[in-house]
Structure formats: C-alpha cells, structure tokens
Symmetry: D2
Subunit: 349 residues, 4 copies
C-alpha cells in the first residue's frame, strides 16, 4: 500500500478523489493540503465525509507533503500546478496533475493558449498525457502524469476510432457540440452558477474560444498523423454532473451502420471503461454517472450525409478524478480498473 | 372582437394559448374542445387557470365549434388535424393549425416524412407556413395557417440571414444541434419523461431521423433558391421550457464579426420578435422564457474556421402558442405584436 | 397615469416589478436607480428585458428620483430602506417599501429582531402593513406601505380564517413548515446557492431563528386579539420560484371537513387573489407560478387529530413584486387587480 | 459467499441493490426475476449496468429461485410480496422483504391500513422489523426480515432518543413534515411524475392519509411503551433521490441545546450509520446521497418553545436497498457495515 496525498483538497475534483480512494485497495490517504489558513475538516467542504475521515485539510507545505506521501494528486488550477509540480517530482514523489499545465506536448502551444509562461518546460517533456485508454504505453516510468481536460477526454475517445477512416469520412471540419453540468465550472460561486440564474436555462459559453479545443487538436493530430481542425462549442446545462458530446462528421460516400459499429467494436475491444452502444441504443449521462465509463454510439445519418458520434462521461469521474486514478494505476503497474470497477455481477459465484 | 376556440384543449400547446389569449384585446375565447368523455374544467389540466375561466373542455363536436367560433386553433397531433381542418374551413372558420399536417409545401414530402396519406392536399396548397417573421406576405387571405415546428422556427430564423452569403459561407453541410426542454415532448407520461429518468441526465434522441429536418430543408430551399442539406441532432434536457440551437457553418474565407453582425442587423431591422445580440452577448433560454422572442447571436470562430449561430426560443411560445397568435394577428390584419408584447417601458410616460 | 420609479433596480424583486409593470395601465415607469457605479442597461441583469426598455439603471440620487416620480418602489435590503424612505416621503413621494424596515407595528420589536436602531420610528407609525387581502382598510391615505415578507404573506393568509375558531382548534403551538425556492435568497451568489451545492439537495436553514417568525406573530396577534406563538422552520428547495407552507394545528374535538371549507369560503368570498381549494384538491407552486394568487387548502386529518393547512404562493409575485403592485393599487384607489389579473376567459365575449 | 437473488428486479429498489451488491464481499448474485414476459437484460432498466452483469431478468419462477439462492431480496409491491414470501421461507430461503406486507406487528393493523387480508399471519409473527439501528436484537435467527418504509426509517431514528424524555418534551402531537424526491414514487410513469408537471413545483400529497403514519405510530409505541399520535404530512420535491424530515415537538420547560445533543450522542454512540450533527450543523440530503447514513440534528427553538429535529436519508439507500443489506448483514451475523461503508480514510495507512 502506497501513501497518497491530495494538494488542492477543497475543490470538486478533490471531492471525487475522496469519494473514490477509500475503495482503492493499494493506496492509503495520508495527507490533504489546500488553500486554507488553518487546518479544516474535509466535511466542511464535503458533508458526505462527515465522520468518515481522520485527516484534516492543512495549509500547503510541500516539504511535509513530500515526506508523508509516495504519490500526490495535484488538484489545483493551471499556472498554480506548475509551481508545485517540479518540487514534488524532485523530491521523488510521483505526481498526478489534474490541471492543464502539463497537458500539451508543445510548450509553445500551451503558452499561447493559456497566455502564460511555462515554468517547467523540461518536466513537461517527461509528463505524458494521462488518457490510458488511448495512450497507456506512455505512462509507466514517468515522474508525473497530466490528466486530460474533461471535454478532450470524451472528444478523443469518440474520435480515435475514426481517424483511420479518412476514405469514408471528412476529417476536416469536425463539429463538436459539448454539454456540461455545472460542477464542471468548479466550486467558486459566481453569477453564472447562481442557482436561480442557471437553473431552467440553457446557454453556450466561451463560444469560439474554449481552451479545450487546441488540446483536442494537438492530440487528434497525434492520432491522425496530420493536423485536424475542429469546431468546438460548449454549453452549460442545469444538471450537477455529466458531460455529453455530439460530434458531426460528413460522410464521403456510402457508409453502413454495421461498418461503423465494427470500427468502434474493434478499436475498443477489451477496454474496460469504454462501452460501445449499438443497435439504436444511445448514451445518457445518467448511465455513466459516478462511474469511470465513457459510453459511445456512432449513428450513420444517411439523410444528413453525416456520422453522428455521441459520447457521455461523468465530468468529475472519467473527466477528472476517476481518470486520475486510472492513470495512477497505469503508472504504478496495477490493473487500470483497480478501485474503479465493482466486482462483475455474474452467475458464477 | 372575434370569437376563437381551441380544439385539442388539454395539451401543453393549448395551455400556452390559454395563458396568452386573455391578454389579447381582439379575441374572446368561446369554445374549448378536446378528447374528453364529458365536459371537464380546464383547471384539471392547467391548475393556474383555477377560477379564471368559465369555459369547460367539451367533447369534440365540429359543428358546434363552427357555430360558436370565427377562428379555431387546432392543437391536435398530426394526422388528426387534417381530419378536422377541412370541415372547419368549409364552414368558413379560419384555422390556425399547430400540427405538422399542413406545414409542407410538397404533399409528397409530407407523406414520405410522416408515412401517412394526406387527406386534404388541395387545402394544403392554400395553407401558408405561418412563420410571419420570414413569410408574412403569404398569410393574409388564406383559409388556414400551418404553424411551424418548434425546431424549424428557431433554425430558419437563425439561418435566413445567411443564405445570401454563399460567397463567404459553406451552405452545404450545415450542422444543427438542438436542445429542448421536456415540455416539447407533450403531456403524455412515458418512461423517457418520468422525472427520475430524465432529471439530471442528458441524451440525444431521434438521432438521424427527426421529422423536423425535412421541414427545415424544404423552407431553407425556398429561402436559398436551391436545395440545402443539413445535419440535425436533437437532445432532451431536464428543464421544462426552452429550446436552444447551435448551428455551425464553415467559413469559406476571412469573415469579420462586424460583417456578420451587419447581416443579421440588416435582415431583422424592425422585426419585433427577433433580437440580434452582439458584442459578445449570447442567448439563453431564460432570457426568452414565456416570451415570443427569438434571441440570436452569430459568432465568428476564427480558430475553428466556422460561424457559430446560437438561437434561443421558448418552445411553447415562439415555438407553438405564441407563434400561433402572431400568425393569427397576421391573418386578421392586426399588428403582429397584439397580445404578445407588453407595453414598452420608457421614460416618455 | 402616474410616474413610478424603482430604487434598488438590480435585484429579483425589482425584476418582478419590471415584469409586471408594463402590463399596468395606470403607471409609467420613469426612473430606475440602484447600486451601480455608472448607468447600466436593465438587460444586464434581466436578459428578458433586452430591447424592451429605454431606461437605464442609474446611480442612486434621491433628489432626481423625487423629481421624476410620483411613487417609488423601494426594493432595497432592510436597514438601507429606512435611510431613504423618509426623504422620499418628505418630498411628497408615495413609497412602496419591500424591505422589512417598516413591517413591524412595534419599533422595539423590529429593533430587537433585526438588531438595529430604527431611524424613522415616526414614519413607521404611519406606514401600514401592505397585505391588502387582510388589512386593506389601513392603506388609503398613508404616505408609505410596508410590503410583508414572503413567508408571513402565506402564513397569515392561511391562518386568518382560523383565529376565530379557538373553540375547535388549538391556536397555541401552531407549527409552520415552509419551503422556498432559491430566488428567495436574492441575487447575490454564495456557496449555499451555488448550483452544484443546492441542486438535488434539501435542507432546513435559519432553524429556530428566522426573522419572519416574529413578523408572523405580531400580525397573528392583531388578528387573534391575543399573543400566539408559532414554530416556524424554513427549507431551501432546488426550484427557482415558489413557496409552500404546511401548517399544522391540533383539533380540540370533532371538526368536519365541510365546516373548515366553510370557514375559508366565507372568509375569502370575493377575494380576487385567494383561491380556496376543496374536494381533495391541494395547492402546488406551479399552479400559482408568476401569478399573484395564494392557493389554500385546509385538510382535516382525523387520524392525526389535526388540521393541515397548505398554502402556495410565488415568492416573487404574491410574496414580493405582485403584492407591492396590489398594495399600490389599494393606496391609489384603483381596483386591486389592476395590472395583475388577465381578463377572465368567458363564454360571454 | 452466499447466493442471493432479487425478486422484482425492474424497480428502483432493485436498482439500488444492484448498485450496492457488487461491493459486498460475502454475497454473489445468482438470480434476477421480475414481471417480464421473457428474459431481459438488466441494462434495459439500469443503463449504468451495461456490460457489468451477466444475469438476465427472468420471468418469476419461485422454484427455480429457491434452487439458485440462499437468500432473496423481495422488491415487490405490497400484497404481492406476501404471496411469494411464505413459499420461499418454506423452501428454506432467507427473505429480505422490502414491501409493507410484514412490517406491522399487528396483522389487524396491517389489514386495516392496507385494506387487504393478510395471507401469512403466522409468518408475520416471525418476521422482525428490519431497522437494525434500533431493533437489531430481533433479527438473528428469523426466517425473514421486513424492511421499514422510508419515512418510518427516518422518523423513528429521529425520535427514538426522545421518548425517554417525556419530562422535558410533549410526546403527544408530534408533527412530522416529510419531503421526498420523486424516485420514492417508483418507476411507473404517471401524470404526477411527468417531468414538466413535477419539475419546478412543490406539493403535498396523501395529506392525512399516508400509510407510513400508522407504521411510525406502531413502532413509536414500542419504543415509548405507550401509544403516541403523530401528524404526518408528505411532500413531493423535484429531486431524484433524498428524503428530509422536519419534526416539531413542544418543549415542556427549559431545555438546553447541550442536553439534547447529549441525548442523541449517548443514544447513538457507536452506531455506524447514524451521524448526529451538533454545533449548528444541520443535515442535507446531498450529504447522505447514495449512502446508508441517517444524518440527524436536533435544534432547541427557544422562541418557538419547540424542539426541531431534522433528519436526512437517501430514500433508496437507508430508506430501501441499503437498509435491506444492513438487515441482511444483521441476519447473517456479518458486521452491519459490510458492503455499505468504504474503508475509513485515515493517517494510519
């Protein structure tokens, strides 16, 4: 059993880790730190934890954290994460970083998108993109792992099986429409997330300028072997958890539904967290809520001349804390499902 | 003051008419009929009407309705509406039909899309499409008006200003993503609309086969002068009222935001129900809730190489009952805003 | 037509006034002021008003307001309202105050409950409690009217018909359980009203210390002619609008349902905004949403030995802005329903 | 590891069992049966289970179930459960019954409340009430256990520590106000649970006639040693999961908050699923969502002369499926928390 800590323990991502880690048999939680003035009980932020945890959230002290942990989940905003990550790595601590700071292969692209200087470009080069379902081979042996953004997770999982099919599909001009629940905006109150303002309403946000678009494009390029441009529009939906993507690609010719089902079925055969729906079934966010699954369906729209790919994840689980644990498992050499999948229900007792 | 009736008085569309008609100075409501065994009070279906209405919902009797009304709102399902509409028209009653039965110019297209024989093709030819903001000149003098579907309303209003700009925009392969609140599914209970099933979830439905797509395409062709194919994906969102469309078109070259704002501003100058948002403002369904407005914004997404058009309406108002009243106003020669827009708030008392 | 203004024009109460006043035939809105640095369009706070209003929200200037208005709605927090109200009254402006500052007959009680010195006790004595359905005779001729709290409105309307029935009911130890939508908490964002925190959750708040309890008790004493003590527990419910009260009183002996129905029917005969439900019907907040109605039902619970009184209002309408307009109507000598009730739907056109 | 089955496998209670049982180390699920015509995959009813379960839901066959199981969860409606339970018991199968059929000590009371003849009175006498936190000593050795209703669970847990304090509290005339999410109404669609009807609304239901009241009273009598009458009013709230009770009792004299905290603290010392909140903290349903906890707080309302007891549970967990597993644990002699509580998070790894 290794000792793990969470840095940035007050936010919703940390909350998801705190929900999941007690079920993980290989880790013990030994340290919670965050932006607090004095130690505070986690239940002040996560009432469900009342009485279930002996740790307090302490003010940040990297030295103490390094002494008490083998691995740290960094659940801090971008630009802050890159201030702490190098020190922890130097102290020999494995880091699972949930911010955007180490997600880009290209430091220049990161600096352009986030409009900030990268403080640890050398470490960035050694930090793989922690989407194990697509890129698991990069993870073992690395000092740190960068957990993808929630939208890129769903978008890349939805699109990966398609990039080999340029003969049948127009890969330029992919249109991604994304819906997210409000927990995706984090815990900080603000007018846009005030209940009476966002309840019973629908809106788009960051139209044309969401920073997950270049992240999607950089990894798509890696998958496709050439640059691909996507259009990406995000919407805030009055639910707490859940993310739903609708991706539209033009068909170049006649494509059969069974062909498409085959592409997905082959691509994700044996993947424990990817469920490919066929036969008219389509994903819902309720169907993946509080799970690490990504549910996918690709529907040939003959009349529209398009392929419609639908993807549902829980933005806090597969889109953040669950994926972080999956990446930790990949890093530590444990089965990726450890602590994330319940025992299968089966007639064979 | 003319006498109006509602046929199909139990559904949500009728409820919206019952919400709005008391504020209309030119009409008196004289008859409610619907699929009831015996007369029932409207408050049984619309609790807000308790004590506010003397009429009962009576079993359907077209003769009685014709004797008691000058104009009838037909709020019945498709295939049923076309059974009643001709009789009412023959009796000299003006009909505002909220079903799909008379929406298509092409009877053949209707029959193909709805998979049913049209019973009144001759009347169909004399029934204009009741989207006054775009096609108001067709309405006066007609015996009946076909109220558009809710999604076509928003889609056509969003796209109309663009069809003249084929030089700058790729008009083929328009991608329409549509979100709707659950009232759009009507009043009949079912597993998909059972609160615990649809609350806190997101899903797509009728993927690749929604019957509003051909309706959009037929009218787009009329606007554009040539066939245009769209991809159209609809989603059920756990709110009661509201419809939001995100439409993506590829840019052919450099297009400036100010140009696009100009296209919309010019096209809709003076339209009382179309509000074009600029300067970074984008629509929300809360902003049009229980109003007949369609709020629009078109955003140039330079990085994505696309124009993103956002449209919000209330599916029950501009998408059904409000539009029906607007169309009635156009038919009767009254100002279109009659009964639909409150007095403007102004310093000039 | 008189000229009216709103002081405190950014909050939800002001929003409700802005929704309703355009439909009021006797008033013109001439002035909006609030805590802004520079003039701002109302649509910045109320998107539905986009394009519907020529006024801006200006920084507070009492002199200018007095010059431009005959009557002012004061929609400011308690303690602030009493700073402005006297000046406006001295300038001859009628004031409808929506704060708590002038609600109490007893200045001492106000000072004790709100823990603040009253700045205008003399004016307090001349400011009647603006619950016209119960106390309309106090209103005409007064310089200002104090609009009741939302919970006291519903509680007093529910209890008023009962205080004469001490023979049948135990009037001490009345238990009031109150549920409110989140708009009742106002527009200021905070952790308790952050969507992911209050969505899909239920909680009580201000248990044992809500300041509406003494307000209820003071007015109940006036109705009953002796002090009555109530228990009052409030709950925050994840809906935007609506307030629901469940009031439990012990029965002293055998009481028949028809007797109770009679008490309510007699008490509220002819009241335009009070709807007494009988025959098993019970109120819902949806049934009064965006209306000035208070729906009531009193159910004899024989097994529990109790009378259960249920009351539903819209906290922003009958609980705030609608009631303010009703009180203005009473003050100005207009029919109380002016601007608040649509034309009755009737067979007599 | 024992073999367990679920009879009535399509409903929400079964869904909760299916969510929880994979995490229970002592049981294997071997049989799902329900009212289906032919075998159906559980994922048709519970999309989250897609790919996670090999069993199908089969048509009911008690003999087959008895052969394949050691213990059966009966998740069927009342009156149906008592038809199946005796047969299973006779076959030597342990039964955890989630219906109301065996909840009452008094068969006569059951027959009066449910207006039906009891088919197995002898078995009823041997079936203890499965609320282990209060009555765990009854459970071992019994052939079947009757799981309490959701409201009685919360009400009894909230009131049990008080019945010994008749000197300080008025135990007659206890007022219980209960709020429940819509999953409490089960899976069958109906007008009251149609999303647009119950969303954004509040209502009371079964006022004065809810069948959980006599269940509460019977068990309260057992706790108190004398009959106690309660008033009980239930409300439907537009959330999916969660139940909240507000219980009001009159104080007989001066009672200090610390005394009350002491009563609860002493009574529930060491109980793993009862969390007593003090120091101003109050329960929320979000804080117990998808857990088997009952969170309690008792607040002395000095001004109201009352004690306000607040209780929150998840109606599907502690109110149904979680409690059923806790009762099974008690029956089988396993620690009650088995499969229900995650490992405690602690500094001691």
């Amino acid at each position: 059993m290794i000792k793990v800590g969470i840095l940035g323990a007050k936010g919703y991502t940390a909350g998801e880790l705190l929900r999941l880690l007690p079920g993980h048999p290989e880790v013990g939680l030994t340290c919670l730190m965050g932006r607090v003035e004095a130690p505070e009980p986690p239940a002040a932020y996560f009432p469900a934890l009342r009485g279930q945890i002996d740790l307090e959230i302490e003010p940040i002290d990297l030295g103490a954290m390094a002494r008490r942990c083998d691995l740290v989940f960094l659940a801090l905003p971008h630009t802050v994460a890159q201030q702490y990550c190098p020190q922890l790595v130097e102290a020999g601590i494995k880091v699972i970083d949930l911010s955007a700071d180490f997600r880009f292969d290209s430091v220049a692209r990161y600096e352009s998108v986030y409009n900030v200087k990268h403080l640890a470009p050398e470490l960035n080069d050694r930090t793989p993109y922690g989407l194990p379902d697509l890129f698991r081979e990069d993870i073992p042996g690395s000092p740190a792992v960068a957990i993808p953004g929630c939208f890129p997770t769903a978008a890349l999982l939805a699109l990966a099986p398609l990039v080999a099919h340029e003969a049948e599909l127009e890969l330029d001009g992919i249109v991604i429409n994304a819906l997210t629940g409000v927990s995706g905006a984090g815990r900080a109150p603000g007018p846009d997330y005030h209940f009476p303002e966002c309840n019973e309403s629908l809106k788009a946000y960051k139209v044309g300028c969401h920073r997950h678009r270049p992240e999607i494009e950089e990894k798509l390029e890696r998958l496709a072997g050439r640059p691909l441009r996507v259009t990406f529009t995000t919407h805030l939906i009055p639910i707490t958890r859940g993310e739903f993507l609708t991706i539209t690609l033009s068909l170049k010719g006649e494509v059969r539904q069974t062909d498409v089902d085959g592409w997905y079925g082959d691509y994700y055969r044996g993947e424990p967290f990817i469920r490919v729906l066929t036969g008219g079934a389509t994903p819902t966010t309720a169907g993946v809520m509080m799970t690490n699954f990504c549910d996918l369906a690709a529907v040939v729209d003959r009349d529209g001349g398009a392929l419609i790919v639908l993807a549902a994840i829980d933005n806090l689980t597969k889109g953040a804390g669950g994926q972080a644990i999956q990446a930790m498992n990949a890093l530590m050499g444990w089965p990726e499902t450890t602590g994330l999948l319940a025992r299968r229900l089966t007639t064979t007792v």
